[in-house]
């Protein structure tokens, strides 16, 4: 039998001025199960709390109802007081007779009757409260960072510097990501590799960072504090610990034609055994078995092995699976460019001198295929006129994506500027829709390109490009003058928009985080939790979340790091016990609960008999992930799942206790 205590607070005259608190108290005492009903001037005061504790003790209460101010004000206060008397805090309920009665109504009699109703509802609710223990999840203080671009590197370094072990997993043979492909960076024109390389080296040498390059995360299970992960180290065919990075192997590799360099965006060739670029970290080559003659021609070619001093080339190395446990994960999978071939009218792929922005970066770069001299891919001639087309794919719902890729305005301005610097007497034309240059120094930078470097900006789109006697004829519109324009140019650079890295959706599915319709990872809250994913313990950084530039990527990496260091500052992750639970006897595993769960907290669980035979599968709630929102309860047809603290029978009791 319940032993409920009801405490009616006057809140001075705030409540007592409008609500007849004695009447509320008297009505409470008539409710079956209520063993004590008192009123007091200020329940939240120390004497008020002491009287509450005394009654709990003396009457051995099983539940407490406070008819007082909003639970958002003092629910915690009273729950803490209850804990001190050994009562589970979830046996304390608040009837809000201040914010929702005395302060909003005038008629004392009617306000009192409403207060009685609210108090009665809470008495019936507390009768059906169950003891709830908060869930404590132990934290495995190690972090996985997926993606070795600038944001992943920043996150890894910050976390490692905070004293936490980091596993940094990069798919390519070297870390560095997209940023290391860039030439100079806007708006300061500092050289990308000059500022990036030291960071890459720091990662490699950091005692708290374990670097997995040429590797992929293949499996993730578990939850915050305790993710079980598998990393596949792809067979590199090079024994890493013995390699000195001398380069003898790639220098003798006969496969130096026909294999396009990914790093140079197909503008040059690479060998079968290769480092993607000279400053690669680690400076250890990987052997591309798909093109290597040794693997294609039955083991005949062993030139690299012969050239290798330490004999660290091993054609028999196999993929290796490493299993690790981490407490938190950063997803920084980066971006790709939209397929330029979507725009047949621009002739990308058909005309060699129509290139993407990233290709142009390589043409500008001193470490690029032309050693920093701007040359046409078709004939190696120095272009005198280049047309830049912005918003290729971006802001184009018909053929591309509707969003703005954010970086193209700036990198196009940078391209035009660098082109002017490198080829004197040259001319740039830029077709644009709008110029978006909103960060520090950006607008000035674009102005400079126009005014000092003489780039001609044309507001409009290009309709068609074709080749005519060695020139590219660009036909477009200049919407400001209202004229059609036709420009004969030597090269065209497409400011291609960005899309999430190919395969990042697979990573999201593996991690159980949500992504938007374009594939960018969604934040737990777009404004207030911009670095958390929808799944506890998994954080986001860099372009994987959406278009952003280098400073923003660095900020997001650091933000993720600070969240993780904060999480790891305690030994356990504590979550409220008001979470969902499943009645395994009646669950039929239709998994509508799993479909509506925004936190990936529900999974399947096998129910087996004593002999280990599978009897059935049921839904299972992961206490580390569940936040107790109750969407699953609403989705469950048989009402097999319920959420503690707001159980169905409690809500029904609240409704049924009302006098109408």
């Amino acid at each position: 039998m319940s032993r409920i205590g009801v405490f009616v607070c006057w809140c001075g005259s705030n409540i007592a001025g409008t609500v007849d608190v004695e009447k509320v108290r008297d009505e409470a005492s008539k409710i079956p199960g209520v063993v004590s009903a008192v009123d007091y001037k200020y329940m939240c005061s120390d004497p008020g709390q002491n009287s509450l504790r005394n009654v709990i003790k003396e009457k051995n209460l099983t539940g407490v109802v406070l008819a007082a101010c909003s639970p958002h004000m003092h629910e915690n206060t009273f729950r803490k007081a209850a804990i001190k008397e050994g009562l589970n805090p979830y046996f304390v309920e608040i009837a809000n007779i201040r914010e929702q009665v005395s302060w909003v109504h005038d008629d004392k009699e009617r306000a009192t009757s409403k207060a009685v109703d609210l108090m009665t509802m809470m008495v019936e609710k507390v009768k059906r409260d169950r003891s709830i223990d908060d869930v404590k999840v132990p934290l495995h203080k190690k972090t996985l960072v997926i993606g070795g671009g600038i944001s992943g590197i920043q996150a890894a370094l910050d976390i490692a510097n905070g004293g936490v072990e980091v596993l940094l997993v990069e798919k390519e043979p070297s870390i560095g990501g997209r940023m290391i492909q860039l030439d100079e960076t806007f708006p300061t024109l500092d050289c990308s590799s000059c500022i990036m390389t030291p960071k890459m080296v720091e990662v490699n040498q950091h005692p708290n960072i374990k670097l997995y390059t040429y590797s992929e995360v293949t499996d993730v299970s578990g939850y915050i504090g305790n993710f079980k992960i598998k990393i596949k180290k792809k067979a590199r065919s090079v024994v890493e610990k013995d390699c000195t990075g001398c380069g003898n192997c790639w220098n003798v590799c006969p496969m130096h034609k026909n294999v396009k360099s990914e790093f140079n965006v197909n503008l040059s060739e690479r060998t079968a055994i290769y480092v993607p670029f000279p400053q690669a970290v680690p400076l250890i080559p990987a052997l591309d078995r798909a093109v290597c003659l040794h693997f294609k021609k039955g083991g005949k070619c062993v030139k690299c092995y012969e050239a290798c001093g330490p004999k660290c080339i091993d054609f028999n190395l196999q993929d290796e699976i490493v299993e690790e446990t981490v407490g938190a994960i950063v997803a920084a999978t980066g971006y790709d460019l939209i397929e330029n071939s979507l725009y047949g009218e621009y002739g990308y792929g058909k005309y060699k001198d129509v290139v993407s922005g990233l290709q142009f970066e390589r043409l500008l770069s001193a470490s690029g295929p032309t050693e920093g001299l701007v040359k046409r891919p078709s004939d190696g001639a120095t272009p005198k006129t280049i047309v830049f087309i912005q918003c290729v794919g971006s802001r184009d719902p018909e053929k591309g994506v509707p969003y703005c890729s954010k970086v193209c305005c700036m990198y196009t301005a940078k391209h035009a500027k660098l082109f002017a610097h490198k080829v004197h007497g040259s001319q740039s034309y830029v077709f644009y829709i709008d110029i978006r240059a909103t960060s520090k120094g950006y607008e000035e930078f674009v102005r400079g390109t126009m005014e000092q470097d003489g780039a001609i900006y044309l507001r409009g789109r290009v309709s068609r490009i074709y080749e005519d006697e060695g020139k590219l004829i660009i036909k477009g519109a200049d919407t400001l003058s209202g004229n059609q324009v036709e420009i004969a140019a030597d090269m065209v650079v497409l400011a291609t928009g960005v899309i999430p890295k190919k395969g990042s959706d697979k990573v999201a599915q593996m991690l159980g985080i949500s992504y938007d319709k374009y594939g960018f990872y969604t934040e737990s809250h777009p404004k207030l939790r911009p670095t958390e994913s929808s799944t506890a313990g998994i954080f986001l950084a860099g372009m994987a979340q959406g278009p952003r530039d280098i400073p923003e990527s660095v900020v997001s990496g650091s933000a993720a790091a600070s969240k993780i260091l904060g999480l790891f500052s305690k030994d356990e992750y504590e979550v409220e016990g008001t979470i969902a639970s499943v009645n395994e006897a009646t669950c039929v595993a239709c998994f509508y609960c799993r479909r509506v769960c925004a936190y990936n907290a529900i999974s399947g669980k096998d129910i087996k008999d004593r002999s280990g035979k599978l009897i059935k599968v049921v839904a299972n709630v992961n206490p580390g992930l569940c936040v107790g929102c109750g969407a699953c309860v609403n989705a469950c047809f048989s009402k097999t799942i319920d959420v503690k603290g707001f159980m169905d029978d409690q809500i029904y009791a609240e409704i049924r206790s009302l006098s109408v």
Partner: protein, 150 residues
């Protein structure tokens, strides 16, 4: 049939109808609190039942409230995009849209069911919705003459 019509004719508006409101903890309940701290006044017919999220508010609660004799039922949560639990209100919105059609098809007067999005900063919207809904319920001639009438 004849009896029923007579009964309908006899029933007039209810002067003190009870309204049950199911609200989410984060937006609407806080919005209602804000109305209180701002000392706004509104009709006292409403009884609020707090739940974590509109995603938790089962459409069948409406029926239970009617059964208990409520003349009107209000469901309110965070605005689309603002759900504290990411998508609870989106999932429920689908259910409400269909459940509402179902109630209407079975002859329930849809004036008796109200849905709203009230944020934590919209104390005035809360007041407005309660007052308007209360007036509407009071004006209904056959306040509760449907299958869930008391």
């Amino acid at each position: 049939m004849e009896d029923k019509k007579e009964e309908l004719a006899k029933t007039s508006g209810d002067n003190d109808p009870r309204i049950i409101a199911f609200v989410c903890n984060w937006c609407t309940y806080s919005g209602a609190d804000l109305a209180g701290t701002s000392r706004m006044k509104y009709a006292d017919n409403v009884r609020v039942i707090k739940l974590p999220c509109s995603g938790r508010i089962d459409p069948m609660f409406i029926v239970e409230a009617f059964k208990k004799g409520a003349k009107g039922v209000l469901i309110s949560g965070c605005h689309p995009g603002d759900c504290h639990y990411i998508s609870g209100n989106y999932h429920s919105r689908r259910k409400y849209a269909i459940f509402r059609n179902l109630l209407g098809f079975l002859g329930v007067d849809l004036n008796r069911v109200e849905f709203s999005w009230v944020s934590a900063s919209e104390g005035n919207k809360w007041v407005h919705i309660i007052n308007e809904f209360t007036d509407k319920i009071k004006s209904l001639k056959n306040g509760s003459n449907d299958i869930f009438k008391k």
